[in-house]
Amino acid sequence: CATTPKGPSPGTAIPADLKDLDRWQARGRLGVSGPENGGSGSFEWQQRGDVSNVDIRGPIGIGGVHLEMRGSGGNPNLVLQTSDGLKLESDAAWDELQNRLGTAVPAGNLRYWMLGVAAPGEHQWHEENQNGVTTLEQAGWRIDYQRFSTEPGARVPMRITATSGDARVRIVVDRWQLGQ
């Protein structure tokens, strides 16, 4: 039985421009591949103003990381904790994240890209092509939005593929909670 992915819960006050939304949560799966290695796992993203708390877990207890990012630009301050007991900050944290995920994931921008909005700064939108994919280009990344939620509330992405060179991040959102 294909359970339809849950879109945003209706009835919460959602600003017209999602960029102004300062509280949201999303749960789903993330696949990252880089030139050497990569990984996949489920994620839980909680955004409160400029603070993102993200848990990425491998299945049955194989590897997990917790990220806390503060700041609005594309390069927020990062604190990284890993399930095998490591705790790192700023550059060391960014390096470890890249090492574990196999590529430099623009986690700072992902906060905006996840919602289907551009991060602050230069960017370029390409309208929906024939197979329904809308594309954003920003910071050297190409972000293809392959599926949006059809539920009332807000049009948020359910399936995203971001590529830059031979790095690729694929996100499938199973559940959105906007305004909470």
Binding site: S40, S42, D55, R57, P59, I60, S83, R170
Partner: protein, 193 residues
């Protein structure tokens, strides 16, 4: 009263003569404040040593296969396969606990036992400190394994409940090999060694 020696004996007698195992499982993940974050279910098959297959059917199709030398992880939605060597850092993972051939003493210390209702719990901690989890608890109902819980160092706990657990069923070896589905990306070293 807690009796680690008896706990070790219980686990070892369960693993004694266990060539293969098959069961349905329900998996619940709860975050550091005990809130259920994720629920999934599927089937588990194990052939010792070093072969197992977790088939997650619900809510998403994922499969994890240990083929004796590598672990393959496939997520259908992500169309991605991640493969990594079955090396010793994995020997202390719970999945390997059931399927590994090393005996218990090598990888785990039994630290506590408790009888709660009909379940006899044995708590074990990995001897290595670079593992992904702090402790694992095995819950036995009579002689059969009913629960496996593990807590990672981020404070999250995974709880597995097994049903229709069969000891030493005949399992087709092909269940412990993995073929990459067409169109899926493969990440990690697929070199055969």
């Amino acid at each position: 009263a807690s009796d680690p020696a008896a706990g070790r004996q219980k686990v070892e007698s369960f693993l004694q003569g266990l060539q293969s195992l098959q069961a349905q499982f329900k998996q619940t993940l709860s975050d550091r404040n005990g809130l259920t974050v994720e629920q999934a279910s599927g089937t588990l098959a194990i052939r010792r040593p070093d072969r197992f297959r977790w088939d997650y059917q619900d809510p998403n199709e994922q499969v994890i296969v240990a083929d004796g030398s590598r672990i393959w992880l496939y997520d259908a939605d992500l169309e991605q396969v991640t493969v990594r060597k079955l090396d010793d850092t994995l020997s202390a993972t719970p999945a390997m606990l059931l399927s590994g051939q090393g005996n218990l003493q090598d990888n785990f210390n039994v630290t506590q036992t408790a009888q709660e209702g009909g379940v006899y719990w044995v708590r074990m901690e990995p001897k290595r400190d670079d593992t992904d989890f702090k402790w694992v608890r095995l819950g036995f109902e009579g002689n059969t394994l009913k629960f496996m819980q593990l807590a990672d160092k981020l404070g999250q706990t995974t709880n597995l409940e097994f049903a229709q657990l069969e000891r030493n069923p005949a399992l087709d070896p092909s269940r412990f090999t993995f073929t990459v589905p067409p169109g899926a990306d493969v990440i990690g070293d697929t070199s055969r060694n």
